[in-house]
């Protein structure tokens, strides 16, 4: 039976990572940027778990991935609170309007 | 794929069946058996998933009628209105599938399916009897909580994409309610899991075999209280009255499904009633002894296990085990149905809470209560050990119990299949 192999998973991780980076770079909606961050973290997680499956890394990859998931949830909570504050102050979520401290 | 506890998995059974009809090499045999087993599992679960709501909707109307001093449905299909739900379903499928012009049509179309898939996926890891489970995951209890929490996404997206204020308010309430109620639900479910020391439903079910005093609900006073806490939270998490704020018909027309009609509307209800069964079955498994009846009847039924080996010339298949499991499945489904009946009873008895009361109930009462129960359930064995020099007040500790089980020897075909599963 054919094996999927490490490289296939790494490719998926790479695609997720690149999509996340492009999402963070191009979206102007604050929440859209957060979604980009989630995609980046997921791309990294796929890599961690794939390495834990196919290399002697063993359990370390899964443990790290779990930490990433938990930290991502925490990050989302704080970032969302910041986004809500931003909305309260600017009445929009467009991050381009957050240039008030621009000199 | 299947639990190692099952005497013979469905895949092995089908492999034996195929092997006795045609002779193929081991690898093809395994693939065929795997696909067949997948379809049979999916078909059985779909039957359960679609069949139980049909019964529950009829039960709900009947119970509601009786509580309100009416008769409920009486005409369709005999004097008890057995076929009322089927008739309703046929009517609903015939209706036009309306999509409002204001709606975001892609998400409006997809979100009923999202909710239904999430609700159906929870059945995947729900064991119906000893070894009868589609996917026997080591972390089954965790997985089922995760899958049940996904249903809310479909509902939120449905409400938001409808382009209606009623639906939006319903979705907002649902989101706030779900995110809050997941916390006490997880903590309450953790208490029996803590006693069992396992997330595997097979192990949890096994530990509660024997008499009614072996059920986890009677393990210590805190688990007893945790059951009621869990049941309250579970009622809220499947958005049943008195917590049905998302579809409060007196204030929000119909809440998140105001704009839905026809088939899409009906599968929201399919998902809701199936989730009611799922949370009740989880309650039965975690607290109420799972597939054990608690009256020592299944001690006798268990003697059937391992009898009638070699039926249909399939190695490792035992008719007795099958019948014993059938009995276990009946017990578990009965328990879950009783709990669903209680949910229906509560719905037609208690008035709906306000949204602030719902949030207060959760965050100010249920979360601290469940945390306290969890803490005390942890400290209870310690307390007993320091006062009575033992960790349980009477009987054997769970770790000392030996579960007797007839081991049907796995024979050539079964082990071959396992080998090519690689």
């Amino acid at each position: 039976m054919g094996e999927v192999g490490l490289n296939a998973y790494l490719m998926v991780g790479a695609v997720l990572f690149v999509c996340g980076v492009v999402c963070m770079a191009t979206k102007r909606n604050g929440i859209g940027i957060l979604m980009g961050v989630e995609l980046v973290l997921n791309g990294a997680n796929v890599n961690f778990v794939a390495f834990s499956r196919y290399t002697p890394l063993g359990l370390d990859g899964q443990t790290t991935a779990l930490f990433v998931v938990v930290l991502a949830a925490a990050e989302a909570a704080v970032a969302l609170a910041i986004a809500l504050n931003f909305y309260n102050n600017h009445l929009t979520i467009d991050v381009d309007s957050g240039n008030e401290l621009h000199g | 794929m299947n639990g190692s506890f099952a005497a013979i998995t469905l895949q092995e059974f089908l492999a034996g069946l195929v092997n006795s009809v045609v002779s193929v090499d081991a690898q093809t045999l395994m693939v065929i058996a795997f696909l067949l087993a997948a379809f049979v599992h999916a078909g059985l679960l779909l039957g359960l998933f679609a069949g139980l709501p049909v019964f529950y909707i009829w039960l709900e109307r009947k119970v509601a009628g009786r509580i309100q001093d009416r008769l409920g449905p009486t005409r369709v299909g005999g004097s008890f209105g057995w076929l009322q739900t089927i008739a309703d379903g046929i009517k609903l499928i015939q209706k036009e599938d309306l999509i409002p012009a204001e709606a975001d049509s892609l998400i409006f179309r997809m979100s009923p399916y999202l909710a239904t898939i999430a609700s159906f996926a929870a059945f995947m890891v729900l064991p119906i009897a000893d070894g009868w489970v589609a996917v026997s995951a080591e972390c089954g209890a965790f997985l089922i909580l995760a899958l049940m929490s996904l249903e809310v996404l479909g509902i939120i997206l449905a409400g938001y994409s409808s382009g209606s204020k009623w639906a939006l308010f319903g979705a907002m309430r649902e989101a706030a309610q779900m995110v809050s109620y997941e916390i006490p639900m997880a903590i309450c479910a953790l208490i029996p899991l803590l006693i069992a020391g396992s997330l595997n439903f097979q192990v949890i079910g096994r530990m509660q075999s024997g008499g009614i005093w072996n059920w986890f609900i009677f393990h210590d006073p805190f688990v007893f209280l945790a059951f009621f806490c869990y049941f309250t939270v579970a009622t809220a998490s499947v958005k049943r009255a008195p917590f049905d704020l998302a579809e409060a018909e007196s204030e929000l027309v119909a809440g998140f499904h105001t704009e839905y009609s026809g088939f899409r509307w009906s599968i929201f209800f399919l998902a809701e009633y199936s989730s009611m069964f799922a949370v009740s079955a989880v309650a039965a498994l975690l607290f109420l002894g799972g597939w054990h009846d608690g009256l020592m009847i299944d001690g006798m039924v268990d003697r059937l296990r391992g009898m009638g080996v070699g039926f249909l010339w399939i190695d490792g298949f035992s008719v007795g085990t099958y019948l014993a499991n059938l009995f276990g499945a009946a017990v578990l489904i009965t328990k879950a149905c009783v709990l669903v009946f209680v949910q229906i009873w509560v719905r037609w008895t208690l008035p709906r809470l306000r949204i602030d009361q719902v949030m207060t109930t959760c965050l100010k009462y249920l979360v601290p209560i469940s945390c306290f129960l969890f803490l005390m359930a942890v400290l209870w064995p310690l307390l007993l050990a320091s006062t009575m020099k033992r960790t349980v007040p009477f009987g054997q500790a769970l770790g000392e119990k030996t579960v007797q089980r007839v081991v049907v020897p796995s024979v050539s075909v079964a082990s071959q299949v396992k080998e090519v599963t690689r």
């Binding site: 690149v18 492009v22 | 975001d104």
Partner: protein, 228 residues
């Protein structure tokens, strides 16, 4: 074969969902595609024999974080289906940079010979998921019969059943490394300290997020602009 098929289905769903997140401008649709993508990643975790992690991904990411994001979308939308468009020039630049980055990543992944690197690493005595090949060899050698079920049980413990090992490693024990006979590697470190740190971190985040998002009285700006 089945594993391959499932991998391709979920890989295509994960990548397609991620690309759709980038491509759509409507933020609610982005959330929907994010659900598709993250759910498929959870399925990939199950394929990678990380059951607990897949369940955690479903519970925390799909059931928690994305619900939170959708909630945020609802609270911050000024009108129905607000769309804050990206200008075409930015899209083109972004796509170009993305393609370049993808090209760099894919070509560098293709260049590395993982097997050789794995050989150069110090051989761990029993990595939890790597060992099952050897176990299977043993299972094949043994005569089929009463012991087959025990061996199969041992193998099934290897297939994605990492709950106990993960839990013990969070308590600072490494059953996959330490309990092997003749473990020449000494005590492998567990994850007790990171686990405690992350617990405190979560508590801090809980309080911090509640503080940041608390309801404030909006200052009336016409009357007292200096206070706003």
């Amino acid at each position: 074969m089945i594993e391959q098929l499932l991998f391709w289905v979920f890989a295509v769903l994960a990548c397609g969902g991620a690309i759709a997140v980038v491509a759509t401008q409507n933020v609610v649709r982005m959330a929907f595609w994010l659900v598709v993508s993250l759910g498929s990643v959870a399925a990939l975790f199950f394929l990678l024999q990380a059951d607990f992690l897949g369940a955690a991904q479903l519970l925390i990411y799909v059931g928690g974080t994305v619900v939170l994001l959708v909630f945020g979308v609802m609270l911050t939308a000024s009108g129905p289906y607000t769309q804050i468009r990206t200008s075409p020039a930015e899209v083109i630049v972004g796509a170009a940079v993305g393609m370049l980055l993808l090209f760099v990543l894919v070509s560098s992944i293709g260049k590395v010979d993982w097997d050789e690197i794995a050989d150069r690493l110090p051989a761990t005595p029993a990595a939890p998921v790597n060992v099952d090949a050897a176990q299977w060899q043993k299972a094949g050698d043994q005569p089929a019969g009463s012991s087959a079920s025990q061996v199969a049980l041992g193998v099934q413990e290897q297939q994605g059943r990492t709950v106990r090992q993960l839990g013990l490693s969070f308590l600072g024990l490494r059953p996959d490394r330490n309990l092997v006979e003749g473990g020449a590697h000494g005590l492998a470190p567990g994850y007790l300290l990171p686990f405690e740190i992350i617990s405190i971190h979560l508590l801090v985040v809980l309080i911090g997020a509640a503080y940041l998002a608390r309801a404030k009285r909006r200052v009336v700006s016409e009357e007292s602009p200096e206070l706003s």
